[in-house]
Subunit: 193 residues, 2 copies
């Protein structure tokens, strides 16, 4: 299937924004990377902000597809699925030399204060991520893997937020220690029977 021009612009832009952030990325830079002429951009995106909002959907859909395969694999016990997705991310960040972090977390940090439209879109993307984890935690409760006393929504929020914080530290120390530390505290202290 031929990639559409819109998808090429989105893919190239998402890649640069994941690395450099939204404000620090120029439209021309995106078009150069996508190999399309400047006029094309405004055929598909009203403004740079509109483009940014569509990049968030792009990231969110990408995460959802990846997460679905792992988190909804009912042949694997629920907690093991959460361990697998976190280990999957660790493999990814090993491959990036501990750079980039979570694109949704990055944009929430960078743009949450600056644009109401980004804020709403990012809120939706973060809710979608935490809802995925909460579903698996509910299964873990039914399977007796974790206490029925914990609030799965609050716990899912804590897992995702603390992960985003660990990714911030990872960028600075340039190793997986913050992610391994997150994994340890989540599974040794929070997700217990």
């Amino acid at each position: 299937m031929k990639t559409s021009t819109r998808d090429r612009i989105l893919g190239a832009g998402a890649d640069i924004i994941h690395h450099k952030g939204f404000n620090h990325t120029g439209i021309q830079e995106i078009l150069n990377a996508a190999g399309v002429p400047k006029g094309s951009f405004y055929n598909f995106f009203k403004t740079k902000e509109d483009f940014g909002l569509q990049v968030i959907d792009y990231f969110s859909d990408h995460f959802a597809r990846m997460a679905k395969d792992i988190l909804e694999d009912r042949s694997v016990p629920p907690l093991e699925r959460i361990k697998r997705i976190l280990r999957n991310f660790m493999d990814y960040f090993r491959s990036t030399n501990f750079t980039r972090g979570c694109p949704v977390g990055n944009l929430a940090q960078e743009m949450g204060d600056l644009s109401p439209a980004f804020r709403d879109k990012l809120k939706g993307a973060l809710d979608r991520i935490t809802t995925g984890y909460a579903g698996v935690l509910t299964e873990a409760q039914k399977a007796g893997e974790i206490s029925n006393q914990i609030d799965v929504k609050e716990t899912a929020n804590f897992i995702v937020s603390s992960w985003h914080g660990a990714l911030i530290r990872m960028k600075v120390v340039q190793n997986l220690e913050p992610l391994e530390n997150h994994f340890k505290f989540i599974f040794d202290y929070v997700l217990k029977p």
Copy 2:
């Protein structure tokens, strides 16, 4: 005491960078806010990056002074001091309408990948913060408030990282819920006797 021109530039720049990030902040904007002529900037700072590194020191020193008063107040039990500093921050973020977040965490997210000089400076600032918490956790162990089995350095790293992640979420949901959720998980699950 008259504020020096250098300090006025630093203070004004720190304030704007805390809000908008480093790359999105221009030197002219900082000088306008500080009310000093352009030539002044390069009397004190070699480059914009050099300025950014001095802003990190400014934030780090600001945090250290604030933290010292609370975390080293031996008239208060150790865990209560950690609760107090987190509640202090919550009051601050209530006053900012849940914006801004931690300037050191923000810059680690934004600049960790992009500048080795920022990365090293931010690593030092984050180590300084976590060392402060680790010291209080050691006191909490001696006082029997928390288990002697926990590794105070790892725990301090987890508290600080998960806090930074909660601040990211705060910017998007625009309320204190992520910070209150962090507080709950840290004190109900991690910092126990």
